[in-house]
Amino acid sequence: MTLKQALPRVAPQSDETRQTSQKAPFLARLWRDAPLLVMVAPAAIVLLLFTYVPLLGSVIAWMDYVPFLGFTGSDWVGWDNFTALFSDPSFWTAVWNTVQITFLQLVLFFPVPILLAVLLNTVALPVAKKFVQSVIYLPHFLSWVIIVALFQQVLGGAGIVNRFLITHGLSPFDVMSNPDTFKLLLTTQAIWKDAGWGTIIFLAAIAAIDPGLYESATMDGAGAWGRFWHITLPGMRPIIVLMLILRLGDSLTVGFEQILLQRDAVGPGAAEVLDTFVYYNGVVDGNWGTATAAGLLKGVVSLFLVLAANKLAHRFGEEGVYKR
């Protein structure tokens, strides 16, 4: 929705300024619009330097990049970095972990904000609704360092839950450093942090549904469940599909800071994902070429995923992120 409408329109020709400006000579337009161009300059320069130039810099995926020699002095090595990447088992571990985490979050995390929004929407007492909203939006604004610290305080080996279990003669379990349950822990943390925040867009979708529909459905004898199933859910469908597409496009991005903070506690076997693989391989170990190749692959596959998800949405008759 945002992207489609944000992209420049092809034909806003009815605009008066546009017609006159088309006739004005270039120099006159330049003189008139020079202040506007100066205003755009700072942002454009930052984007140029830190988005577009680095994008070109991705060519080091085909180089044996040595920082000392720089871009011009380093050797071109063809597809060597990619071959090295594909024969590296730890790369495939990272891919597999990423896919697993994405799948878990899709199944366990994605429905939570939808259900929460439906629940909140049925709360008739405005004070109660406002209060719960304020509370559940809050964790979204906390840093991952704080969130992980909070989880350690409550669920860690010396945390509140385990103290409670020990004092009551039960055996403790340390979820914070258990590789087997690590992906579930990540998902739980993500839900705690962002499920509340995620309700905003679904609440907006519910608010846009015509209340008359509910009234006539009730007159026709629909109960709470019937109204939810036949009115609320279909009314939310376009937004749900949109959010699903955005999530699918982001499949390969799974909480980089969150995982980086906890990777050492469970080891790379359970916690290495594509982003952490790029960080450790490149910045920490200095395999600049291979790490860039991994990052580039991730970017290309992500772009492909967005396009594919959109195609799927079109096939189901939804609008998706952009129109056909």
Binding site: A6, P8, L36, P139, Q153, I200
Partner: protein, 297 residues
């Protein structure tokens, strides 16, 4: 009695349903609030109580500010707080400067190069360069180990520009025309018309930016080698998550160090307080302002 949010035609709600709903809401709220409560309580508790309870406190019987005292007397944490505040203020100011200027500069359809520049900005929404090329760029520009590395690379987001621009385009055109007839130039229009009218959206975007700068932990980890330069989030990681509390105030004679547990929790509390301070303003504007801005594009 009829509730204000409940239409009459729905009739009376079933007591069981109301009770279940209330229970669910209380549980959900408790799950969020409970960790905060233990953090604040533990940070304020005495060593004796923490030891008795085995590492945490739900409600301090006697309040002690020892942990906070130690934090503000210790050099590293106090310095990191100053650094975080500085980076957040300068970063937010720089980022807003770029964002608002670009948003107005791109707001008038048909101005010279407007479509090309807008596409240039919006294309960055579709793809981003990987971490390594950006890192090498920062290095190339000599920004490694400077605070600029935390401020400039992420300062401009196309998303923020789109939001502010959408808001500016909603300002009635007549205002601009009138100002132009009165002889105002673009800078004057920006200063006297656009800025006063779009204060709300600028405030919201600014608050989001500030939260981002304050919470940034990977940036300093990636770009700053010198631990002396570390901001609060990174110091907090070292002290709280890696259990590495250095007793900085221990050299004072006769001083009994507070328990590490309460110092750790005090740190978490301090890192959370600024967020809690801006939070009411965020909730006031965000859902409405952000959504309309984003959807209008």
């Amino acid at each position: 009695m009829s509730l204000p949010g409940r239409p009459v035609w729905l009739g009376k709600p079933k007591p069981v349903a109301v009770a279940l709903k209330a229970l669910a809401l209380v549980l959900i709220s408790a799950v969020v609030i409970f960790p905060f409560l233990t953090v604040v309580s533990t940070s304020l508790a005495t060593k004796q109580q923490i030891d008795e309870n085995g590492g945490y406190v739900l409600w301090p019987t006697k309040i002690s500010f020892e942990a906070y005292y130690q934090i503000f007397n210790g050099t590293q944490v106090a310095r990191s707080i100053v650094i975080s505040v500085g980076v957040t203020l300068v970063g937010t100011a720089f980022s807003l400067f770029c964002t608002v200027l670009a948003a107005y500069g791109l707001s008038r359809r048909g101005s010279l190069f407007q479509r090309g520049l807008l596409s240039f900005v919006l294309l960055t929404l579709l793809f981003g360069p990987g971490m390594i090329p950006v890192y090498l760029m920062v290095k190339q520009l000599g920004m490694l180990n400077t605070y600029w590395s935390l401020i400039i690379p992420g300062a401009v987001s196309a998303f923020n520009i789109v939001i502010v621009r959408g808001f500016i385009q909603g300002i009635p055109k007549e205002l601009f025309d009138a100002a132009r007839i009165d002889g105002a130039g673009e800078w004057r229009i920006l200063w006297s018309i656009v800025l006063p009218l779009s204060r709300a959206v600028i405030a919201v975007v600014g608050l989001f930016l500030a939260v981002g700068y304050w919470n940034n932990y990977f940036g300093p980890l990636l770009y700053l080698n010198d631990t002396q330069m570390w901001p609060l989030q990174l110091v907090m990681r070292t002290f709280v998550l890696q259990n590495n509390v250095t007793s900085t105030a221990a050299s004072i004679p006769g001083y009994v160090a507070p328990p590490t547990q309460s110092v750790q929790m005090a740190l978490v509390a301090i890192a959370t307080i600024p967020i809690l301070c801006v939070y009411p303003f965020l909730t006031k504007h965000m859902s409405k302002g952000m959504l309309t801005g984003a959807i209008k594009g």
